[in-house]
């Protein structure tokens, strides 16, 4: 942990540096590999293995905890901080959220954090950290419990949990203060209860497991949209598998199938109610990602699209990038091995028709879905969805790969020659290290993972004391709840800590036109009318947008015109921001080094000032 802390310490002084990555991985590998080694040993007692798995889960939270121990840093964390703050200060759920509007309709994480704040008196951030550490630990233990529920030994189930932890979201994305971090854990435990309900023989145990499944799936539904969709798909696939004659039809199959279908339908009905009544904007929020992702992928396949260049602007070193490609290769190898083991079990008759066979085949299918999702990473719109799906597909992949990994470890143990035993063990250790490094590199970029100097437009490195002070001044001076015109980065702080409001710009509300207009040229009247009628009263301008290209290639919103970020490297806003100082309907009330705050006095027709200045004199007085 000290090595990880030291790597962050190096990061604070450099935009990027080889040594920060080296120290980070030295720390991580020293922290995890010995634990993995003992967990994977056949001779380790089950009690010790479970305890070590718990320790592994806690320790793998260290990278995120050290990244921002005392306040939000990631983009989504600001949105969820605001949601929680609103619950604590208004006493109500579903308060609008300007940073990510959809999060307000899924209050699971915020309500739980607010309840913990109320019960303990901790700050929002500390209560959230307690909750997230628990979710992270329970995610690992949940995968192991699911593995045991699928008939795996304690050792293979623990290996599945370890392998799951190599997915790209595990160390940073699913540990951030965001709804998915809690929902993924709930999905896994819903599946644990679901498989228990399906496999239990006693009526009472089944009824109780069904009750838990309903409660936990309801928890997923009120917490996160994409996790809900994933859970429903997995439950439906399992229910379908349990109805297949070849897979599950033995004595009592009707009971197990009806249990599975009943629970899946209950979850579908609850989710349908939530999507239609409480969060109807979910489909409009999610559909562009899938639709654009698919169309871009088709264009790329036909050679007409502009595919993403992987790691094009990455700050991570070459060996991390190469490892990310190798993850797919290793995953494929282990998955094929797992499939062969299942085939062998089917052939020798040890995996008979019944619920267990159906469950294993369902999770096998879930694992296989990972591979077709990989090409989506090349599509600008689909990459985000693909990456997020891996947190779910890796549940299946971990189960499949754990079987292969167990077989390989046993093969190494059975070797009579010491050299071949040692070399196979070294090979496996190297493979695990590469997968851990590559899995992490395939997730969040270096600016998210490591602290560092200010990096314009990078989300995780763009908050400065100056911005915080500007936002605090604004709230203290004018109060909260104003409608602001802001760029993406300023919106994070003004929309969260500042408690101000804004709408994401779009084609119908193109606020970038304000910034793009040349001095003396006309600002579209429809836009000014829109600003007036929607009561937009202030505008925040970060002058760096005229000089720099944002690291995340976004000035305002993900759907903004592509030509706002030209490949020339010169900002399209260069020389176009000074006009705000002389527009008659804008009054500049604040300026710091980089931020200017303007009062918007609309409509334009009612404003104006004389261009012929008077000659009367006053005086300036400063009180020290």
């Amino acid at each position: 942990v000290a090595a990880i802390a030291y790597s962050y310490h190096i990061g604070e002084y450099h935009q990027t540096s080889q040594s920060e990555f080296t120290w980070f991985w030295v720390g991580m590998l020293l922290l995890t590999l010995p634990l993995i080694g003992i967990i994977a040993r056949a001779g380790t007692p089950n009690a010790l293995r479970t305890a070590l798995l718990t320790l592994y889960a806690i320790l793998t939270y260290a990278p995120k905890l050290l990244r921002n121990p005392s306040s939000p840093v990631y983009h989504d964390e600001f949105a969820h901080w605001r949601d929680t703050y609103e619950i604590l200060h208004t006493g109500k759920l579903f308060s609008p959220n300007p940073v990510i509007p959809i999060t307000a309709r899924y209050p699971g994480l915020h309500a739980a954090t607010a309840a913990l704040v109320n019960a303990t008196g901790l700050s929002i951030w500390h209560a959230a950290t307690v909750l997230l550490v628990l979710c992270h630990v329970l995610l690992v233990l949940g995968i192991a419990s699911l593995g045991e529920g699928l008939g795996m030994t304690n050792r293979i189930a623990a290996l599945a949990a370890i392998l799951y932890s190599f997915n790209s979201s595990f160390l940073y994305f699913d540990t951030e203060f965001a709804y998915e971090s809690m929902a993924v854990t709930l999905v896994v435990w819903t599946l644990v209860a679901y498989t228990q309900a399906i496999r239990s023989r006693s009526m009472r145990e089944r009824a109780a497991s069904c009750f838990l499944t309903v409660l936990l799936s309801a928890g997923v539904i009120v917490t996160h949209h994409l996790s809900t969709v994933s859970l429903l798909l997995i439950m439906t696939v399992i229910a379908l598998a349990l109805s297949m004659p070849w897979l599950a039809r033995t004595g009592g199959w009707v009971r197990t199938a009806s249990t599975a279908w009943g629970l899946a339908l209950a979850a579908i009905v609850m989710a349908g109610f939530w999507f239609v009544v409480v969060a109807p904007s979910t489909f409009t929020y999610l559909s562009p990602y899938l639709a654009h992702g698919l169309s871009q992928l088709m264009s790329d396949a036909q050679g007409t699209g502009a595919a993403r260049q992987l790691f094009s602007a990455s700050l991570s070193p070459w060996w991390e990038q190469r490892s990310a490609y190798l993850v797919v290769v290793f995953a494929l190898g282990l998955a094929v091995g797992g499939l062969l083991l299942i085939r062998a079990k089917l052939r020798d008759g040890s995996l008979r028709r019944g619920p267990l066979r159906a469950l294993l085949i369902s999770f096998m299918l879930l694992a296989v879905v990972y591979f077709p999702s990989v090409p989506f990473i090349l599509s600008p719109a689909g990459s985000e969805g693909a990456r997020r799906s891996w947190a779910f597909t890796w549940i299946g992949l971990a189960m499949l790969a754990a079987a292969s990994m167990g077989w390989l470890l046993d093969a190494a143990r059975r070797r009579t020659s010491r050299w071949s035993r040692v070399s196979l063990s070294i090979g496996l250790t190297a493979a695990i290290s590469i997968v851990m490094i590559g899995g992490t590199a395939a997730g969040q970029n270096a600016a998210y993972r490591f602290p560092g100097p200010f990096l314009y437009g990078s989300d995780a490195r763009s908050t400065t004391p100056e911005e915080l002070a500007a936002s605090a001044w604004f709230s203290a001076h004018f109060g909260t709840g104003h409608n602001l015109v802001v760029d993406r980065n300023s919106g994070l702080i003004f929309g969260s800590y500042g408690l101000q409001n804004f709408s994401a710009p779009s084609a119908g509300f193109a606020t970038w036109e304000l910034f793009l207009a040349k001095s003396g040229s006309l600002i579209p009247p429809y836009l000014l009318e829109e600003l007036r009628s929607s009561n937009y009263t202030y505008m925040i301008v970060d002058r760096r947008m005229a000089y720099e290209i944002p690291a995340d290639d976004t000035y305002f919103t993900t759907g903004e015109p592509a030509d706002l970020v030209p490949s020339t490297g010169k900002s399209v806003f260069y020389g176009r921001l000074d006009k705000f100082n002389s527009l008659p309907w804008m009054i500049k009330v604040f300026q710091s080094d980089n931020y200017s705050i303007y009062r918007l006095n609309l409509p334009v027709g009612r404003t104006g000032y004389s261009v012929r200045p008077p000659s009367v004199k006053g005086r300036l007085v400063v009180i020290p």
């Binding site: 942990v1 718990t54 806690i58 260290a62 008196g121 909750l131 009330v589 300036l620």
Partner: protein, 313 residues
Amino acid sequence: MTVEYGYLRRVSSLWLSAWPIWAFVLFSALAAIHALPARDVWVIAVVPIVLLVPGSLTIGAAFGNYGRPRGTPFLGYATLLSVLWSVFASLALYVLHILITATTIYFIMLSLCAVLAVVAQARLLLERQVVGRHAEGSPELRDWETRRLSDSRNPAARIQWFAIVVAIVAGVSVLIGGTYFYEHLSSPPSTGYTQLAWTSTRENNAIAVGPAGTRLFFQIDHRQRNQASFKLSAAWEGSSARPIAKPLILSIGPNKTLRGELVVPAPPGRCTYRVVLTLTEINQVDPLTKLQPSWSINADIHGSGKSRSICVQ
């Protein structure tokens, strides 16, 4: 058998015979804990109660004492169900148009725990009677009873719990130690800034100025590590800027705040004019603009009475 062992066995037996009631008592004690001094210390006790009791009672009420999940699954379900009950309680309060506060959440959770504790305790007592009467005839119940007894007496089960507790304590200690270490490493000094702003909200709109003129109040915040020299000037904005007042040269020390005022005389007629206050740092170059760093704010003023747009021309 030692006295201590006998005492522990009695405590264990007392706990096992009525654990739902004891868990409920623990949860209801939260209100008393909040009233205690040194609340920060008690957080360590509050967090496990809040995050384990409602979920444990749910498992007890749903499964009874026999066939309930044990070990890791018990821990996982108990924690997540506790968290989820607080979410569902918030939703229920919202639907009932009751504000979500520490008190309302606590009482709704307490009511829920009471119901769950009664159900769990009732199932515990009923199952014990049933087992007592029918265990001989029911292999399933006999199997459960054997499992229960073996769980409570089995040293391996106790070792597992002990090992998990040790792992949690060790892991959390490493996280806390790591965070402490990281926060005590030297960090690069945070970038400073200077800001110039009006101190009232009057400047939001054109200000009517009487014959005596008006005073516009402003503030300069210099959040830098070093002292710096500035020129402060004020001018009428227009086709050619015209100074209002004699510029001031200021030397501002690190982390200092200065307040000031711009005395503006009554402008001629009833036209609207724009006043610009500019602060320029002397002998410095802005890395972005390659010019002297400067800050400015402005305000519109007009003579008494309604401003006339004809003055714009």
